[in-house]
């Protein structure tokens, strides 16, 4: 499989009045053609900041970005972190596209969607108005909008929530990008609509052999569509690996805690949920040592209080499945229960 996106040692910090916020602190992952990589985390984990960095959508004056983000553009590879604004602008919408959480506010209320769809095309193929409109109609058809030739001339507010998200997807794919970043694409939608949209994304991915970076906090969605998963906590990746490993053999205490705490609509009502104690840390005053330590139930297993003084590295016996924890991996495999849900 061809690698189309590679993020290495990405760091994004924001200087604020109260101190430096290290929103993303040494994040690395890759994406291949045709696969879906999920970035899972809660609010403040840094997942959205990561996705915006891939597209160079941060205010260059406000954000300090270092590391490497390589995107394949045909035969070339572009290094986003050091590229000029003009170079990254040329990538956006053409090689890498993004869809956002709230389709109502993400579409301009004053312009017809024909205008907005064609705009995507015309930015990268100037002056081809007829081709743009034809492509817009065929994309709307592809995403399942009925009567696309008529509805293309409607305004965003004339569509329902699910339809608007389809329009956004159509708009993102106008230039056949190789990478699609989906930031919480179904969070604002009803569950039955969510199912439709996720199915649609899966179909489109197969058709275009696209790579998808899926940003979400919903573990159910991750399980449904991802091939590989990166779990983020307080700006760092704490576990990364194939989706089955993450869900059935998690190696990071945070991942385990998360999987244990979600209620499952299964056959029997389970007992009390085992919640993770405490709260996510403030990004301004991160504790020394492992950021998850204050909430971790396994720190006693580590001698010398290392968890509170030293940040563990992201390592793994298998290079495919890595995690951050001072507890020896073999011991963790024995300690953490295997989660196989019927």
């Amino acid at each position: 499989m061809k690698e189309i996106l590679s993020v290495e040692n990405l760091k994004v910090s924001f200087p604020t009045d109260d101190g430096l916020v290290r929103a993303v602190d040494d994040v690395s992952f890759t994406l291949n053609e045709g696969e879906t990589v999920a970035i899972v985390g809660e609010s403040g984990s840094g997942k959205t900041v990561t996705s915006l960095s891939i597209m160079d959508l941060h205010n260059r004056r406000a954000a300090q970005v270092s590391g490497s983000i390589k995107i394949r553009d045909g035969a070339n590879t572009v290094e986003v972190v050091s590229a000029s604004p003009e170079e990254t602008r040329s990538l956006r919408g053409r090689v890498v596209s993004m869809i956002f959480q709230d389709p109502m506010s993400s579409l301009h209320p004053y312009y017809k969607i024909s205008n907005q769809l064609c705009e995507s095309y015309l930015v990268h193929h100037p002056r081809q108005k007829k081709a743009a409109l034809d492509k817009a109609i065929s994309m709307l058809d592809l995403v399942g909008i009925p009567q696309p030739d008529k509805r293309v001339h409607d305004y965003p507010h004339q569509f329902s929530g699910g339809m608007r998200q389809r329009v956004m997807i159509a708009m993102a794919l106008m230039n056949d990008p190789k990478v699609l970043i989906a930031d919480e694409p179904t969070t604002a939608l009803d569950v039955t609509v969510q199912a439709q949209i996720l199915t649609l994304l899966g179909d489109l991915q197969k058709q275009f052999n696209m790579g998808i970076v899926l940003i979400t906090h919903d573990l159910g969605v991750v399980a449904q569509v991802s091939d590989r998963v990166n779990v983020m906590y307080a700006g760092k990746i704490v576990e990364s690996g194939p989706v089955d490993d993450i869900f059935y053999k998690p190696l990071a205490p945070y991942t385990l805690g998360l999987l244990n705490s979600i209620p499952r609509a299964g056959d029997k009502k389970m007992g009390r949920l085992s919640a993770i104690a405490g709260q996510p840390p403030s990004m301004i005053n991160l504790p020394k040592g492992c950021s998850f330590a204050p909430r971790c139930e396994f720190k006693e297993k580590v001698s010398g209080g290392r968890c509170l003084s030293e940040m563990p590295d992201l390592t793994g016996i298998s290079s495919e499945h890595r995690s951050r924890c001072h507890v020896d991996e073999k011991e963790r495999q024995k300690l953490f229960p295997t989660l196989a849900v019927k």
């Binding site: 399980a223 209620p263 009502k269 949920l273 993770i276 709260q279 996510p280």
Partner: protein, 326 residues
């Protein structure tokens, strides 16, 4: 079943919001039928989950039960008393018995009041002086919901989302109510915090024998916390029954579709299971379809569904409104 077991009884409850003349002419409808005839019983200490997607009327139903919204028709019986016709004045003494927890922890608390004042408000409003003083009662409540009582004088913005929701809960249980309507209490919280708040609600409900109407769209949360569940669609109840049975063996096509649509955190299962994908969009509550409101998206629909409204019929442990239940 002794009738004193039942704390709340709702029969054919309806709430229609009238629309102005211009919209009437445009859409041909006179009202938004938010809640269109729902009936259920709630036992003492029981948790009833009210689940459905946007526009199904669950939030309106929750507020109408508490008479925060005046019902259009139907009856609400609380502790044996018919409260549907009571005026706001007459409702006041009953309000200490029925409370609400809101979805958004950021807007449910007055940002200009200290936490202590917020939790003490119910005592103040009902003119009750708890034994040992208000401050002590408030601090005990704070401890009970897992907050530090020394933060009595802090303001809401100094707390996280999960903590604010606990403040809301402390406020709701201050007067030891018998009934709490929880309107999406964990939807706005991070996943790792949701479990904490769900556990708290379960503990409180068991300890004080509080009945809860738990409104949510997240099926797994509802299934976990509820004893019984009612599934709503376009203002009507499609199916109601034992929580375990509804989720393991639903009768109604909509319940099946809902369950099928919700992704489970189990990759192998997700890859292999069959999915029901509903076609089409939600009809407008201003013009719900005739007969069975679900028929426009139902794969079982036949001509009978267009002409006859299905009534709730009990088969075994489930009560279903469908002409062709499983």
């Amino acid at each position: 079943m002794a009738s004193s077991d039942v704390i709340l009884s709702v029969r054919d409850l309806t709430k229609h919001f009238p629309v102005n003349k211009r919209t009437q002419k445009k859409t041909g409808s006179t009202a938004v039928k938010a809640v269109d005839g729902i009936s259920f019983d709630l036992k003492r200490g029981e948790t009833l989950g009210l689940v459905g997607e946007s526009g199904c009327g669950k939030t309106t139903a929750g507020r109408t039960i508490l008479k925060l919204i005046e019902p259009t028709s139907g009856s609400i019986t609380f502790e044996g008393q018919n409260i549907s016709e009571l005026s706001p004045q007459e409702m006041r003494p009953l309000r200490s018995q029925m409370q609400i927890i809101f979805q958004d922890p950021y807007s449910a608390l007055n940002p200009r009041h200290t936490v202590g004042r917020i939790i003490a408000a119910p005592f103040e409003i009902q003119g009750i002086e708890p034994q040992g003083g208000t401050k002590r009662a408030v601090q005990e409540l704070m401890e009970r919901v897992g907050l530090n009582p020394e933060h009595y004088n802090r303001y809401p913005h100094e707390f996280s989302g999960g903590q604010r929701q606990r403040i809301g809960i402390a406020r709701a249980i201050a007067l030891k109510p018998k009934l709490i309507v929880a309107d999406e209490p964990v939807s706005a919280l991070d996943v790792s915090i949701q479990a904490q708040v769900i556990n708290l609600l379960e503990d409180l409900s068991k300890e004080d024998n509080i009945s809860i109407v738990f409104i949510a769209h997240d099926l797994s949360v509802v299934q976990h916390i509820s004893d019984r569940v009612a599934v709503m669609y376009l203002g009507k109840i499609m199916e109601i029954g034992n929580s375990r049975d509804i989720f393991s063996n639903p009768s109604h096509p909509y319940t099946k579709a809902l369950l099928s649509a919700a992704p489970k955190p189990d990759p192998k299962l997700e890859r292999t299971r069959e999915r029901i994908i509903l076609k089409g969009d939600l009809p407008s509550p201003m013009n719900p379809p005739s007969g069975c409101v679900f028929r426009t998206r139902c794969w079982k629909a036949e001509s009978k569904c267009e002409t006859e409204v299905p009534t709730l019929i009990t088969h075994g442990s489930l009560t279903t409104a469908c002409h062709f239940p499983n």
